[in-house]
């Protein structure tokens, strides 16, 4: 038995050795030049940062719907980095091995995938980044929303609703994520302009609803007067308001993205709030721009889109109280077959 095992070991070792040699000897496919424009039979690689929440599912649904509009796309390869930069680097390399014509990247940790992005760019294909910056010149374009501005819009809308003086609390998602930190930064810059706005406290909630409620409960404990809630997402303002309601406190203005649960709560309780989506269209936008690049167009380095903003009156008009809490306000236009399956 032992001899047999050794035999297999030797076989594997040989296999690895041959493979390694082949790998070492193989030339880099990258020639630094730009790939020739292509009009059809385009393969697309989509390296996503992670899956597993509704926003990402709608992002993918919008993306898939967009793919269907483009018959020149022959195949889409999709990888999931599970929020790990190292996995994403491997994913990008794997996609390059597949020989895709267009690479769309949603960075898990932008700063930590720079070399992979540069490698991809040097292969000569268009590399489009969205939902999180990658600090390198070597990509074709950044497509998406200005996250700092989004945070600032939330802050401004909050001040519009509550006035230029009062106490606010800030609720953020996962510490260390660029998109989270930029929203926070944008908001702080706005609040800094209003000396009578006092930021009572800022806490990260890890985008966990029970955690948000726990944090809010202790805020209510500590601060008798809260006039507004700045949250970087509906996922945080929704439980915060819910907690206030349970505690019997008067509901206050808040900000957030287009999570249907948040919108439904605002309307049901008739409390003013401001919604500006962090759009689930972004992957679709990136695809649209990327295809232009594949076909030979020159793109700007940064392409910002501004989605529709929803003041409270507008929310009341368009909210669909029958849809799931995890739906996204304004995403009704996605064709049925691409939607995450719903009963």
């Amino acid at each position: 038995m032992r001899r047999k095992t050794n035999w297999i070991l030797v076989l594997i070792a040989m296999f690895l050795f041959v493979g390694g040699l082949a790998a070492a000897g193989g030339q880099d496919e990258s020639d630094g030049g730009k790939a020739a424009p292509k009009e059809d039979n385009i393969t697309v690689g989509f390296s996503c940062a992670g899956m597993g929440n509704s926003w990402r599912m709608f992002l993918k649904a919008n993306f898939d719907a967009k793919v269907a509009e483009h018959p020149e796309i022959s195949k889409v390869y999709f990888t999931n980095a599970d929020e790990r930069p190292e996995k994403q680097i491997a994913d990008i390399d794997d996609l390059l091995s597949k020989g895709v014509d267009l690479l769309i990247i949603q960075p898990s940790l932008g700063e930590a995938i720079v070399p992979a992005v540069e490698r991809a760019y040097n292969v000569g294909i268009p590399v489009i980044i969205f939902d999180g910056t990658v600090p390198t010149d070597q990509h074709t374009a950044y497509v998406g929303q200005d996250m700092k501005q989004l945070g600032a819009h939330y802050a401004e809308a909050l001040i519009n609703m509550m006035g230029t003086e009062g106490n606010i609390i800030m609720l953020s998602g996962i510490a260390g994520q660029m998109s989270v930190e930029l929203r926070l930064e944008g908001a702080r810059e706005v609040f800094a302009k209003y000396p009578d706005i006092q930021i009572l406290d800022t806490q990260y909630t890890g985008w966990s609803i029970p955690k948000a409620k726990e944090v809010m409960e202790s805020f209510l404990q500590t601060y008798p007067q809260i006039d507004g809630i700045w949250a970087d997402s509906g996922l945080m303002s929704f439980p915060a308001l819910e907690t206030m309601k349970e505690a019997g406190r008067a509901l206050v203005p808040s900000s957030g993205d287009n999570l249907n649960g948040y919108a439904k709560f605002l309307v049901a309780n008739n409390v003013p709030g401001y919604i500006e989506p962090y759009s689930t269209q972004q992957a679709a936008w990136a695809l649209e721009e990327g295809l232009k690049a594949v076909k030979g167009a020159e793109l700007d380095k940064v392409i910002y889109h501004q989605p529709e903003q929803y003041p409270f009156e507008r929310i009341k008009e368009i909210v669909n109280m029958d849809l799931s809490d995890w739906w996204w306000l304004g995403d009704d236009q996605i064709p049925e077959e691409f939607l995450p399956q719903i009963d």
Partner: protein
């Protein structure tokens, strides 16, 4: 002094835990003086115990597994799954109870599978339950496609967010009820006694006619069922189905139990210890929030508290 120590040991609560508890009480007083927020105000205490109740139920389940010599890292996967299943099928108030039973039954299957891996296949619990948790998460995501269906019925929301006699959170009442049962099961029944024997010396257990595998599998079932129940409570508490409900509760529940005197490797641990250990960790979080400490200090303090409590206990042994 030795007498006190022995008493404590028999009561299942370690010295380190008591010392740490006193330290935190002092911290709470300090916060009160400096920041002017009173930790001990009834309202705040009720808040703390409400949050505490859910994870503590899971941690008590975890305690059974740890005493048996195992570890259950599939707790949060089970929570999230039962949360999502509940939201999907509890379409009306009338269905709350049957669906609750369905979730608990499914969880029992998961626990059985964990137990099977650990007992019949000799898989290290760490890896076996980690594998189970990845599989369950995968299955759930395939099923929900990332977006939980359905909604939490109002009845469940009301039960989980309102208070008994307008004062004590219902969640806490449930916790107390379950805690008493679990304590009784562990300290007063044949099952509990045998669980300790199995965790302490599995060989003796077999030779004494204890059905070792059955005891261990039951421990995993208790843990999984507790987790599933908590998953549903989280649903009621937050009012929204969440694919990642209870994220991070695996390690948290282990931390509760170990801080409370359970030993990874088996044979020691108690419900009362886990309750106190968990309460200490929750107090730290709450105090940090009351004192407006930023995230970074919260993490460091939590780590240091764990080290202190366990370090003192280890020294005294």
């Amino acid at each position: 002094m030795r007498k006190i120590q022995e008493k404590l040991q028999r009561s299942g609560i370690s010295i380190g835990l008591i010392v740490t508890f006193l330290v935190i009480i002092l911290m709470a007083i300090a916060v009160n003086i400096v920041k002017g927020v009173n930790f001990f105000s009834l309202n705040n205490l009720l808040n703390v115990v409400r949050n505490y109740s859910m994870i503590a139920i899971a941690a008590m389940g975890q305690t059974f597994v740890i005493i048996s010599g195992g570890l259950d890292l599939s707790v949060s996967a089970v929570m999230a799954s039962s949360n999502v299943v509940a939201a999907t099928y509890m379409t009306s108030n009338g269905l709350i109870f049957p669906v609750l039973l369905l979730c608990l039954a499914l969880a029992a299957l998961v626990g059985m599978f964990n137990g099977y891996l650990v007992t019949k296949r000799n898989v290290p619990p760490f890896i076996g339950t980690l594998g189970t948790s990845i599989v369950i998460n995968g299955l759930r995501m395939i099923w929900t496609n990332g977006m939980p269906r359905g909604a939490i019925p109002d009845g469940l929301k009301n039960v989980c967010t309102s208070n008994f006699l307008n004062m004590i959170p219902n969640l806490f009442m449930m916790f107390v009820f379950i805690a008493i049962w679990y304590w009784f099961l562990l300290a007063r029944t044949g099952y509990g006694r045998r669980l300790y024997v199995v965790g302490n010396n599995p060989r003796v257990a077999i030779l004494s006619g204890v059905r070792k595998d059955r005891i261990i599998i039951t421990a995993y079932i208790i843990s999984a069922v507790s987790a599933a129940f908590v998953g549903i409570l989280i649903g009621g508490y937050t009012g929204i189905a969440d694919n990642w409900a209870g994220k991070g509760y695996d390690l948290d529940s282990v931390a509760f139990a170990v801080l409370g005197g359970a030993v990874i490797g088996g044979g020691a641990g108690s419900i009362q210890g886990t309750i106190l250990g968990g309460f200490i960790l929750l107090m730290i979080t709450n105090l940090a929030l009351l004192a407006s400490l930023p995230l970074e200090s919260q993490l460091v303090i939590k780590g240091l508290i764990i080290v202190t409590a366990l370090g003192i206990t280890a020294r005294k042994r």
